[in-house]
């Protein structure tokens, strides 16, 4: 294999989500706590399940025992003309079988109910928590990672609850009871049967020690393969236009081969482990057969007992092979649990107040009072003082990185300031109930995300109780009605997943309509018209003049055309407001805005 892998993937901060070494078999405290919390409401059910499985196992174990008794007692009795024992033993066998089956059904459905209840609780909890986490978290923790927490990690746990736990409980419990039965049935043979146990433990330990790393490696290699695959076909235009195919073939082949090797390692471990269990089982069986036969010859043991013994022995060793499979799903699940508990430990820093101040009707007066904000080490806003009276339309201009978006996000309380505060109608944003705040302040961003469903559904997202007429009015107001009406199903057109059918400009119009339907007192537009073509932008801007008349608006735009209808322009540089005035004052002056504006005007025609 040639080595085209040289650093093509580039360097990134090491993924700290990795399970630390040694965390394989024992869960860390936070995972244990999560598991405990999830299982706590089901304590009674768990005890009930345990009781069920004990009784069921006893019924199940009766079979081989009764067969032995049948051979030893009923067959001779029958030859003496007494069918009684045969009838009784057969009846007992049928009874035990029915009881075993019925309890098994109860156990399976009951444990299924408990498992599903746990999963539902977990799903609800993680979903609600992720929704509550601040935007800062979502920006740090990429969407792909968050999605896999909520999907594949929850499913890894589901798999364990679905099959793994049931298998393990049954297997472990059978092993214990059968061990006891074997000893009771015939102590000397029982001791021989248990002789294999130390060897078994040693093999299991070897397997566990090696497989932890091996299984983790397979999860990593398959993840790398999936990333390569998804990105190739997500960006197929670029791949084909830039003749990337041969290089991709190489890279994929290397990742695919890595995955094969990783898988091969786990196959090898199982190929050694499972036959070893079989070998130990077979050797013990041969020993039991030999010693048992001698004891039968000596008259110390009945033939029937030997037969039951051999039957039990099979049931003793078979489930142990499943433990290897269980171990794999247990590992995925514990890794998943580790990551899930990590996410659940994240603090929702932008919190709703415990005792909110009611603000049913906001006037839209915004005040920044010494607001300071930074991302990590980097200070973006060193301390901002700003007063925006209700109803004013303010345009924010300045170069990339000047802090315009940060200011807007603070006003929408996507972040909380590190120092100082931001007040709406005199009330600090942190003291407002989320419902009041969101009704009053709405932000429209450059990326206009549409949810699956119809266009009407998407507009109604701004106000779920809105009527169809209100939805259409909102669309009309910003000039989206014409294009929506021209679609085959009008407002009932399915936008497909992530708005694939609409152009970027059309998506932006829909998200505008959504914001206007919400009818907020403060509207924040962050580059919200960047994808519109000129005629659409013109429509939107005309609409804005009327729509913004009675509300507070903060508008960020690269193109200065938007500035024209603003009451006030703020020029930002390096986190500070360097110019503040009406558009005509600033254009006529000698400051930065005048310069910016000249550059912009030059760029036209």
């Amino acid at each position: 294999m040639s080595a085209p892998t040289e650093n093509w993937r580039g360097v990134a901060t090491e993924d700290t989500e990795q399970l630390s070494t040694g965390a394989g078999i024992f869960l860390r405290a936070r995972s244990r706590r999560l598991l405990g919390e999830l299982l706590a409401p089901h304590h009674r059910a768990l005890w009930g399940l345990l009781a069920t499985i004990i009784v069921q196992n006893i019924a199940w174990l009766a079979g081989p025992f009764l067969i032995g008794v049948g051979i030893d007692v009923a067959v001779p009795a029958l030859s003496h003309g007494d069918p009684g024992p045969l009838i009784w033993i057969t009846a007992a066998m049928v009874g035990a079988a029915l009881l075993d089956t019925a309890l098994r059904y109860v156990f399976l459905t009951w444990s299924g109910r408990v498992g599903q209840a746990v999963l539902l609780t977990l799903r609800r909890r993680v979903f609600a928590h992720v929704q509550r986490l601040p935007l800062a978290f979502h920006e740090r923790y990429t969407s792909g990672k968050t999605i896999s927490r909520l999907t594949s990690d929850v499913e890894a746990l589901a798999e364990l609850l679905d099959e793994g736990l049931d298998n393990l409980l049954t297997a472990l419990f059978s092993v214990v009871t059968i061990g006891v039965v074997l000893i009771v049935l015939d102590p000397p043979l029982g001791l021989i049967a248990l002789l294999g146990f130390p060897a078994l433990l040693w093999v299991a330990r070897w397997f566990q020690r090696n497989s932890t790393a091996a299984y983790r490696r397979t999860r990593e290699t398959i993840a790398a393969l999936i990333v390569q695959f998804t990105e190739t076909f997500g960006g197929i235009r670029a791949v084909q236009a830039f003749r990337r195919e041969p290089r991709n073939d190489q890279l994929h082949a290397v990742l695919n081969e890595d995955n094969r090797r990783a898988q091969d390692r786990t196959f090898w471990l199982i190929a050694v482990f499972v036959p070893s269990v079989t070998l130990i089982g077979n050797l013990v069986t041969v020993a039991v057969l030999g010693v048992g036969a001698l004891r039968v010859l000596d008259g110390d043991l009945a033939v029937g007992t030997l037969v039951s013994f051999l039957l039990y022995l099979r049931r003793f060793y078979d489930p142990l092979q499943d433990v290897a499979m269980f171990y794999n799903s247990y590992q995925s699940a514990s890794a998943a649990l580790e990551k899930l508990s990590g996410v659940l430990e994240e603090e929702p820093t932008v919190r709703e107040p415990a005792e909110p101040v009611a603000l049913p009707e906001a006037a839209g007066e915004l005040t920044f009072d010494g607001a300071r904000f930074g991302y990590g080490e980097r200070t973006v806003l060193p301390g901002l003082d700003l007063h925006i009276p209700g109803g004013q339309t303010v345009a924010l201009v300045g170069a990339t990185g000047a802090g315009k978006s940060t200011l807007a996000r603070l006003a929408a309380r996507f972040y909380d300031p590190g120092e100082g505060e931001i007040r709406l109608d005199g009330v600090p944003l942190g003291r407002l109930a989320d419902a009041d705040l969101r009704r009053a302040v709405v932000m429209v961003t450059q990326e206009s995300f549409l949810f699956s469903g119809t266009i009407a559904d998407n507009i109604a997202f701004g106000r779920p109780q809105a009527s169809r007429a209100e939805i259409e009015d909102a669309a009309r107001a910003i000039g989206a009605h014409a294009f929506i009406d021209a679609l085959p199903d009008g407002y009932d057109t399915d936008v497909r997943r992530r708005g694939g059918r609409l152009s970027a400009g059309q998506r932006q119009l829909v998200s505008f309509a959504r914001a206007f339907l919400a009818d907020p007192a403060v509207l924040i537009l962050d580059e919200a018209t960047s994808s519109l073509d000129v005629p659409s932008e013109r429509l939107v801007q005309r609409a804005l003049r009327t729509l913004l008349a009675d509300r507070t608006a903060l508008i960020i735009a690269h193109r200065l055309s938007t500035v024209e209808f603003a009451d006030r322009v703020l020029v930002m540089d390096d986190g500070r407001i360097v110019e503040d005035g009406s558009p005509s004052d600033l254009v006529g002056g000698t400051g930065r805005f005048a310069g910016l504006h000249r550059a912009w005007a030059d760029s036209l025609v």
Binding site: N7, W8, R9, G10, V11, A12, G70, D100, T101, R104, Y105, L108, T109, Q116, L120, F127, A128, L135, H138, L150, T151, T230, G234, G235, I236, R237, Q240, A241, F242, R243, H252, N256, R260, F267, W268, V272, P275, N282, L297, V303, V307, L310, A412, F414, T445, E447, F461, R497, G500, R501, S503, A518, V534, H558, R559, S561, L596, W600, L604, V605
Partner: protein, 595 residues
């Protein structure tokens, strides 16, 4: 416009075997190993039969005759078979890993290579998630079937037959009784398995629904937060999650029934064997050892019977997986090199001509482009202007054959692009797309995509033109990983990198799809200055929404109703064509109002 990806064809039992036979070319290189796996599995199962038979022999022979010495060879034999079984078991699993993991790798490589070469029109139709599930889930299903399902399907059928023959030989009336008890078992099992499969699919579909909700709630988090709709989103998710639970519980109940039959059957059959056996021993038709052997043999039969239903379902599932994979492998590669093609001489810069070019999306009746005539002289830059949905992006895709024309032709220096080798064509033509696709790789790898031979100087030059020198300030410079799995960049930064990628190596024909839309005014003017010098040495087609971008071009073409409606200098068009003025003049009108 876009058809949803076809649903997987329902399992109908027809042509199942032929579906599985598609795997043969992939299995062929490893046929020796696979044969070894089969043989080992079969021998291991037969070795298992030895223990019950020897047990019976011990009871009837040495025990019945009080022959201690006779015990030794029998126990020795049991030992040999016991060890042999474990050894064969190891051999089976080991060879299986060797063969089927390689088969899986080959199949996945082939699929990936083929998918990369399918036309963009195919990828428009298929969501990448669909493709992924075929390349992972379906390919793994195939691997598990070849290494496990197929082996045991054959081995268990053989075991069942052998054991039933042995049972019939031991005492035929009882053997027949055992055989008959399997009939109701199979019927019930088949029925419930069918129900189980339906319910499994429902669960999978619902999981898909839930995943969509999760994706949207996470990717649309800004909208959700901004409008304060967390409650609404949660309720939606909760309803779907609760439905999933209900479906899961249905599935659990069916599975429990299935398990219970398999649990009950052997126990009741044992009771039948006891009664029948006791009567037979009483009648002298069967020895005690025979009865013991019978019981022991029956336990060997349990797993093969138990697994048959499951294995048949597995075979059907694999056949469907093969169909789904085959569907992709059968998809024709329509954009390809015609046979016997040779590279032509294309000048740098080249002359680009659209001759009566038409394009209709597959499955659509309305053509997007209907007779575009446009000639771009070597070294000239033409801006393409048109309303949203007028087909500008489609037209640009025709040059590099991302789509093939459906009427007319596109030529470079007089050569039809379809008569050029794809590799040559796509090295001559470079495109910067509207959505700047970045991959989870180093900056350098992202820039050089298809030109691994690019020198550091080439890269620097491209970065300078696109004003993307910010990459040097990233934590690891050009080695920093960007994209979804790496450092996230702003829209403007992404766009500048996509531009740098396109201008890298100074292509003969450059296509820029609205290349400056996400840049601020200051950066935009810097990029424009640097871009001008690149554009002077190359033939370029630039899709433009803004007057500033239009000014990069020598001439402007207005695209409307699938044709070039007007062609000329910007100022002339502005003065003469009302439609053009409507598309581009708003900014100036406002500027005048302002000044």
């Amino acid at each position: 416009m876009i058809d949803p990806a076809p649903e997987p064809s329902p399992t109908d039992g027809r042509g199942r075997l032929s579906a599985l036979m598609r795997l043969w070319p992939f299995a062929r290189p490893y046929r020796g190993l696979i044969l070894l796996t089969f043989t080992a599995a079969l021998l291991a199962t037969l070795a298992q039969l030895a223990v019950p038979l020897i047990t019976a022999a011990v009871v009837d022979g040495p025990i019945a005759n009080h022959d201690r010495a006779g015990l030794i060879p029998l126990i020795g034999l049991a030992l040999v078979f016991g060890v042999a079984e474990a050894a064969l078991f190891f051999l089976r699993r080991w060879t299986m890993g060797k063969s089927c993991l390689r088969l899986e790798r080959d199949l996945r490589d082939t699929l990936y290579q083929r998918l990369q070469r399918l036309p963009v029109a195919f990828h428009d139709r298929w969501a990448s998630g669909q493709l992924l599930s075929r390349a992972t889930t379906d390919v793994s299903t195939v691997r598990r079937f070849v290494g496990f399902g197929a082996v045991f399907l054959v081995v268990n059928l053989v075991t069942c037959a052998v054991v039933l023959v042995l049972l019939l030989l031991t005492y035929w009336p009882l053997g027949l009784a055992v055989l008959l008890t399997t009939v109701p078992l199979s019927v019930l099992a088949m029925r419930w398995e069918k129900r189980y499969n339906v319910q499994s699919r429902q669960v999978q579909d619902q999981q898909g629904e839930l995943t969509t909700d999760v994706e949207e709630a996470v990717q649309g988090i800004r909208v959700v937060k901004s409008l304060g709709r967390s409650g609404l989103v949660f309720d939606r998710y909760d309803t779907k999650a609760s439905t999933l639970r209900t479906l899961q519980l249905k599935k659990v109940r069916t599975l429990a029934l299935l398990w219970c039959v398999f649990e009950l059957h052997p126990q009741l059959t044992l009771a039948v064997i006891l009664v029948g056996g006791a009567l037979a021993v009483h009648a002298g038709a069967l020895t005690v050892g025979g009865l013991v052997g019978f019981v022991a043999l029956f336990t060997v039969l349990l797993w093969p019977i138990l697994s048959l239903g499951f294995l048949i379902a597995f075979a059907q599932e694999t056949a469907s997986a093969c169909d789904r994979i085959g569907e992709l492998l059968d998809e024709p590669i329509t954009v390809t090199d015609p046979p016997g093609i040779r590279p032509a001489t294309i000048g740098s810069p080249a002359r680009l001509r659209f001759e009566n070019t038409g394009f209709t999306y597959p499955g659509s009746a309305e053509p997007v482009l209907a007779g575009v005539d446009l000639e771009i002289a070597p070294g000239e830059t033409v801006a393409l202007v048109g309303a949203t949905g007028s087909g500008k992006t489609t037209l640009t895709g025709l040059v590099g054959r991302l789509y093939d024309v459906t009427a007319g032709r596109v030529t470079l220096d007089g050569v039809d692009v379809r008569d050029l080798p794809l590799a040559q064509l796509r090295s001559v033509v470079a495109t910067a797309f509207e959505d700047a696709t970045l991959f989870s790789m180093s900056v350098r790898e992202n820039l050089t995509l298809g030109r691994p031979e690019a020198t550091d100087a080439d890269v620097e030059e491209a970065l300078r033109v696109a004003q993307a020198e910010f990459v040097h300030e990233l934590p690891w410079g050009l080695a920093t990983r960007i994209g979804e799995q790496g450092l996230s960049l702003s829209g403007g930064q992404r766009q500048r990198l996509a531009l740098a990628r396109a201008v890298l190596g100074r292509p003969s024909v450059l296509i820029l799809d609205d290349p400056l839309s996400a840049l601020d005014v200051h950066t935009e003017s810097l990029v424009e200055q640097a871009l001008r010098e690149v554009l002077s040495g190359t033939t370029a087609l630039v899709v433009a929404h803004r007057p500033s971008t239009v000014l990069l071009a020598d001439r402007v073409a207005l695209l409307a109703e699938g044709r070039i409606a007007a062609l000329g200098r910007h100022t002339d068009l502005l003065a003469e064509v009302p439609e053009y003025r409507d598309l581009l003049a708003q900014d100036s009108e406002l500027a005048e109002a302002l000044l």
